[in-house]
Symmetry: C2
Subunit: 359 residues, 2 copies
C-alpha cells in the first residue's frame, strides 16, 4: 500500500481515488455514511459518469470491510442495468501484442460508435504493476477516446480475489452503458481460466514461431479459445504467420467439438498496421448470433453466475479451514508425513477436520 | 444393499464377506472388538492371505461407522508394508477390450513370477454391476491364477468415495505383497482423473476407427496418458490400427512435454492374440527407470498423497456446508436467482455462508 504513495502522481487517476478512499476511511467509520455514498454513486454510474465509475471500481477493489459493504450495495444497485455488453476475453503471453491489439480493436469499435471498457486481471500485479502502467501508456490513443475507459488491473494477493474484483468492475462498466468489455489476462498462473469464466468470447493471441508454435502452450488454453489470432502478421513475418495459422487450424481440428457448437477459426492480424481487426469483430458477432440462436449464450452466462457463487463459497470454506489456528499449526507437519507415506491421507484429513471443531 | 442379498451366491467371494461383516455389525457395536479384528487382519494380509485381504477390502468398503474406524486402523497398520508395487491405470471406453487386455497382461506378468492385483473404479456401479461381474467372467483364467487377485469395484454413490475405497484397497494389496496393481476405470464421469491421481503409469486403450480416432476423446485424457495402446490390432483390423497409431502419434506430438520428461508412445496390441503385451510392459519398465532416475517417480507419489489429503478435506468441507439444513433449504432458490442475474454471486455466497453459522 505504502508503495503506491511513492508513485508519481498524475499517471493514473485510480491511484488518486484510492488515496481519497483511504482518507474517507480514516475520517469515518460510520456504515450509514458509506452506504449513503454508494447510494449516490449508483445513479451517477448508470448515467455514464466516468469519475463515478472509477470511484465505484475503487470501492470494489478496496480491502476495507466498510468499503466491501458499500461495494456490495453498489453492485446490487447496478446489477439491474448490467449484462447487456459483449464480454470479450483476450489472452496471450507477454510480448504477443495484447495492448496494441486492444488499442486497435478499441479504435475500430469506438469508430462504430461503441463504448469500450478495458479491464485486466493480473494476480501478480505487485511485480508487474510497471507493465500495466505501460499498458496504459501503450493504449495512449484509446485512453483519450471519450468512448473508451481503461482501468488497470486490480491488485490483490490471490487470483480468486483479483478475478472477483474484475468481475464486479465489469458489472459496474456494464451499468455505465459500455457496449464491449474487454478483459485482458497477463497469462500468469491460472488467470486465463478466471477470465474465461467471466466472458462470452475468449480470444487467444499468438505469434508465429519457428514451426513449433504448439509447443509451450499452456494446457487447456487452446480448448478454451473461441478464436485464435496470429498477431504481428506483417512485413517479413507474413509467411511464418501463414504457416502458424495452418498449424493451429490443424490443431483445432483435433479437439472435440465445443459445447457451444461453435467452430473456432484461426485468423491473421497486424495490430500495428491495424489489419485483421474487422475480421476479429466479425467472428465475435458471428459467435454471438450463433450462440444466441442455439441459446448457449444465456446458458453460459447462467452457468458462469453459478460458477462464481460456488467458487466464492468454496474458497471461503477453504480459507476458514486453513486459517483455523489449530489447523494452521499442524498442517505442515501432517502434509509432510502424508507426502512421505507415513500417514494415510484419509486418516490425516480426518484428524485435521477434527482439529477445526476445537475452538 | 438389499439387491446384493438377492444375488446368486458363489459368484463373488466379496459378497460373502460383506454379508458376514453385516452380521458382525448386527451382533456387536463394541469398538474394542472391532479394532481387535483389524489387529488380527493386518498380519494375515501382510502374510499374503487372500481371504484376509478380501475381508480387509470389504472393511474399507463398508459404510458403517464402526467398520470405518476399523478400516482406518487396518490401513495404518498396513501402510509401512505398502508402496512397493507398480501402480498401473488403464482406461478406455466400454468395448475397447480392457478386460481382455488385463487378462493377457496378467498372464504375461504372472508368467514372469509377478503377483498381480486388479481393482476397478466404477462410480456408477449400481447400474453397471453386471458388466463388472462380466469382467470377472471374462478374466476367468486370471482369476484362477494363484498369483492374481481380482476385486470388483467398490460400490458407492460418489466418485470421491469410490476412488478413496479403491485407493485404500490398493494399499492393502501392496501390503499383501502384490508387485503390480492394475486399476481399471470404466471411463464414466471423471473416473479417469481419479485413477490417474493414484497410479504411476496411465495407459489409454483405443480402437482403430474410421480415421476420426481423435474425435470424441474426452478432454484431457490424451494429456494424462503415459502410453496409448491401439487394441484389437489383428486380422482385418491391422491396417486401420496402423493408421490410428500414426494419427495418435501425431496428436501426441502436439502436446507440450510432460512434467515427467517422459515421451508417451503409441503401440499396437491384440489382447485376443496376446500380441503387443510385452511391449506395453517394456514401456512401463522404461518409464519407471526414467522417472526413478530423474526422481519424478517419488515426487509424483508424494504429490498424489498430498492431493488425496487436500481432496478429502475439501470434499468434507463442502459436504458439511451443502448438507447444513439452512443452506440446503435456501440453496435452490438462491442458485436460480444468481443464474438469472437477479443477485450477485458474491453477495449470495456471503448470504449462504452466513446461514451456515446459524445452528
Amino acid at each position: 500500500m505504502s508503495a503506491q504513495k511513492k508513485r508519481p502522481k498524475g499517471i493514473n487517476p485510480a491511484f488518486f481515488s484510492k488515496a481519497q478512499d483511504r482518507n474517507a476511511q480514516d475520517q469515518t467509520t460510520s456504515g450509514a455514511y458509506n452506504l449513503k455514498r454508494s447510494v449516490t454513486l449508483a445513479p451517477e454510474i448508470v448515467k455514464g459518469n466516468y469519475t463515478a465509475l472509477s470511484r465505484g471500481i475503487t470501492l470494489v477493489e478496496s480491502t476495507s470491510a466498510i468499503h466491501q459493504k458499500e461495494a456490495e450495495a453498489l453492485i446490487e444497485q447496478c446489477l439491474p442495468y448490467a449484462g447487456k455488453a459483449v464480454r470479450l476475453g483476450i489472452t496471450g503471453v507477454p510480448g504477443v501484442g495484447k495492448s496494441t491489439l486492444i488499442e486497435a480493436m478499441g479504435g475500430y469499435l469506438t469508430a462504430l460508435g461503441k463504448k469500450v471498457a478495458v479491464l485486466a486481471i493480473d494476480p501478480s500485479s505487485s511485480v508487474s504493476r510497471g507493465s500495466i502502467l505501460g499498458d496504459k501508456t501503450r493504449m495512449a490513443q484509446l485512453s483519450q477516446n471519450p468512448l473508451a475507459f481503461i482501468r488497470p488491473s486490480a491488485s490483490g494477493d490471490s487470483l480468486g480475489g483479483v478475478a472477483r474484483k474484475t468481475r464486479e468492475a465489469m458489472i459496474l462498466c456494464e451499468a455505465a452503458g459500455f457496449d464491449v468489455i474487454v478483459v485482458e489476462t497477463v497469462g500468469v498462473g491460472q488467470s486465463e481460466h478466471a477470465v474465461h469464466s467471466m466472458v462470452d468470447f475468449f480470444l487467444l493471441l499468438k505469434l508465429a514461431g519457428a514451426g513449433d508454435e504448439l509447443q509451450g502452450i499452456k494446457r487447456g488454453i487452446i480448448e478454451m479459445a473461441d478464436a485464435i489470432v496470429i498477431n504481428k502478421a506483417d512485413g517479413d513475418n507474413k509467411t511464418a504467420a501463414r504457416m502458424a495459422k495452418s498449424a493451429f487450424a490443424k490443431a483445432l481440428h483435433l479437439y472435440p467439438p465445443k459445447e457451444s457448437g461453435w467452430t473456432p477459426k484461426v485468423t491473421l492480424a497486424s495490430a500495428l498496421e491495424e489489419e485483421g481487426i474487422a475480421e476479429i469483430w466479425e467472428q465475435v458477432t458471428a459467435y454471438l448470433q450463433h450462440t444466441k440462436t442455439n441459446s448457449f449464450f444465456s446458458q453460459k452466462r447462467a452457468e458462469q453466475n453459478k460458477y462464481w457463487l460456488v467458487q466464492t463459497i468454496e474458497n471461503a470454506l477453504k480459507d476458514q479451514f486453513y486459517s483455523h489456528p489449530e489447523v494452521a499449526q499442524h498442517m505442515t507437519a501432517i502434509l509432510e508425513a502424508v507426502a512421505r507415506g507415513d500417514r494415510s491421507p484419509f486418516e490425516a484429513a480426518k484428524a485435521l477436520l477434527d482439529l477445526q471443531k476445537t475452538r
